[in-house]
């Protein structure tokens, strides 16, 4: 059954002195318990897409249906992990209280009472390896640690649909690999639906069941890949699987091709941003 349908959404930003056509007619379906990654270059509208799915920003046209009802405000059971994670933590709360934040709200409160939310928060803080830092303020932690606090805070609410906006972008390779595997374990255990936005092609392929590749200005879907690599995944085996390399190279080719086309259409000028990954 489809959990989420994104139906032909477009987004234009209109202000008196400029007009940005950020997204043009994107549509896709997400099944329950699916792990989807969205890969696209910087500025192609990935954050905008997630903001619309989470009901923080209305699309200019088209609609988003989650569990059969139209999304216009942030729906219950959905959590968005912001790209700008350091600004999304509450600087006046210690780490543990930050993780409790979601649980304290009326919406979540029905399934937790009293001391329980502290336990719940500690459980997930432990899972991201930060229990020792529970009495620090977020600004006393490094960027990567702050990101893990934000992840723990999202997971603590046990969302059914989790949107992650380049969550591991600022981490070193090792922590990144650890957190990727941690995320996969969590997902295998709780089977949330995850939409994972990333710059990194390999990361996108490694994690997901399906990869959506976006192109730029205005953003649209260039290709979808069904990714049937065996699970559980493994950093070494999966990444050296011929099928993995095949998908990765294919995506790479599409993206570079797009970039060349961009060059042709624009008199060989450099594209405004480089693809990473």
């Amino acid at each position: 059954m489809n959990l989420l349908s994104v139906k032909n959404i477009s987004k234009e930003f209109i202000s008196p002195n400029q007009h940005t056509f950020a997204i043009e007619k994107i549509g896709f379906e997400v099944k329950e318990r699916e792990f989807i990654s969205v890969i696209g270059p910087s500025g192609c509208g990935k954050t905008t897409l997630l903001m619309m799915i989470s009901g923080l920003m209305p699309p200019t046209s088209g609609e988003i249906i989650l569990k059969g009802s139209k999304v216009d405000t942030p729906p219950p059971g959905l959590i968005l992990l912001f790209q700008d994670y350091s600004r999304s933590l509450l600087p006046w709360r210690k780490v543990i209280k930050n993780v409790c934040f979601g649980l304290e709200l009326k919406r979540q409160r029905r399934w937790l009472i009293g001391q329980d939310y502290k336990k719940q928060a500690e459980k997930y803080l432990e899972a991201v390896g930060l229990l020792k830092f529970k009495n620090h303020y977020p600004w006393q932690l490094s960027g990567g640690m702050q990101q893990r606090v934000a992840i723990a805070r999202a997971l603590a609410c046990e969302p059914t649909l989790m949107l992650m906006d380049e969550p591991f972008g600022s981490l070193d390779a090792q922590t990144r690999a650890e957190l990727e595997d941690f995320l996969l374990r969590i997902w295998e255990r709780f089977h949330q639906t995850i939409i994972f936005v990333t710059h990194d092609i390999e990361e996108g392929v490694y994690l997901s069941d399906r990869v959506i590749v976006l192109a730029k200005s205005p953003s649209r879907i260039v290709k979808e890949f069904q990714n049937d690599l065996p699970r559980p995944r493994n950093q070494i085996e999966t990444r050296s699987d011929p099928r993995f390399l095949e998908i990765r190279n294919e995506i790479h080719r599409i993206i570079t091709q797009k970039e060349k086309d961009w060059g042709k259409e624009n008199d060989g000028k450099e594209p405004p941003s480089k693809y990473l990954g």
Partner: protein
């Protein structure tokens, strides 16, 4: 690691205390007072208009034990705190509401921008006309003058709340009330406290001015009256006592601020990466 200062010799220690600790600043004050004392004793300047510090201290002691100064201060502090409290009680909620609601902001902003820069001294005659020269007038003037900095700071504080924070709270399903209580109020609190600190200084100034203009009590009246009756050391004594009171009020506020807002201090004093 302050205790283990690297300065072993006496000179090193003295220069450390002078230039690295707050004591250095106190020494500046003491040096100035000493210079004043001797300048006046040796008639470097007019000893009647600028009496010796020791004479001023003597006068301060006399008016304090005679109960004259405490009586004036009781009245002054009452007016000041009444006016200040009114401005906080009205200013903080108004600021929150104006900052939170765009429509209210648009409706009130021009009015605020007109009232705020109007010199309080120009408002006084109107208030005297309407309220007379008694306590009501003085309290009203104080409340008026300290209201605007609070209001404007609270509005700025609410407007300065990070969008990402608000969006985070909304994604987690915060209701408007939760958003207000758990995000806006907290995030704006440093600005709110700043506004309150600016205003408390203003409220002391304005109380004294109002008392100088009209009436026959309060420290403002005392200072002006001492000057008119040529009790020069008493006049200085009044001014000195005001300096001390002003200093104490501000100090208390700074201490309060740093204990309530420890997170903010830590956040803003963090070394830029």
């Amino acid at each position: 690691m302050m205790a283990k200062s690297p300065h072993q010799n006496i000179l090193g220690k003295i220069s450390y205390i002078l230039f690295r600790t707050r004591w250095g600043g106190s020494l500046t004050v003491i040096a100035l007072l000493t210079f004043w004392e001797f300048g006046s004793t040796f008639k470097l300047f007019h000893p009647v208009y600028i009496p010796k510090v020791t004479d001023i201290a003597q006068a301060l002691y006399n008016v304090t034990v005679s109960g004259e100064l405490p009586a004036h201060y009781t009245i002054t502090l009452f007016r000041m705190s009444a006016g200040y409290c009114i401005s906080v009680i009205i200013g903080v909620p108004c600021g929150l509401m104006i900052g939170y609601n765009r429509a209210v902001f648009n409706l009130t902003e021009p009015l605020i921008e007109l009232c705020r820069p109007t010199p309080v001294s120009a408002v006084i005659p109107i208030v005297i006309l309407l309220l007379g020269v008694g306590n009501e007038m003085k309290i009203f003037i104080v409340a008026w003058a300290s209201f605007w900095p609070i209001l404007v700071n609270v509005i700025d504080g609410v407007h300065g709340v990070d969008r990402t924070l608000m969006e985070t709270a909304r994604v987690f399903g915060a209701t408007s009330w939760e958003l207000f209580k758990k995000i806006i109020l907290q995030a704006a609190s440093p600005h709110i406290v700043t506004g309150m600190r600016v205003s408390i200084a203003i409220s002391l100034i304005v109380t004294v001015i109002a008392e100088m203009l009209a009436g026959n009590n309060g420290i403002g009246f005392f200072v002006l009256d001492a000057e008119r009756t040529f009790r020069i050391p008493e006049m200085y004594a009044g001014v000195f006592s005001l300096a001390v009171i002003g200093y104490l009020v501000n100090r208390i506020f700074v201490l309060l601020e740093s204990s309530i807002m420890a997170w903010h201090k830590g956040l803003t004093s963090k070394e830029p990466k």
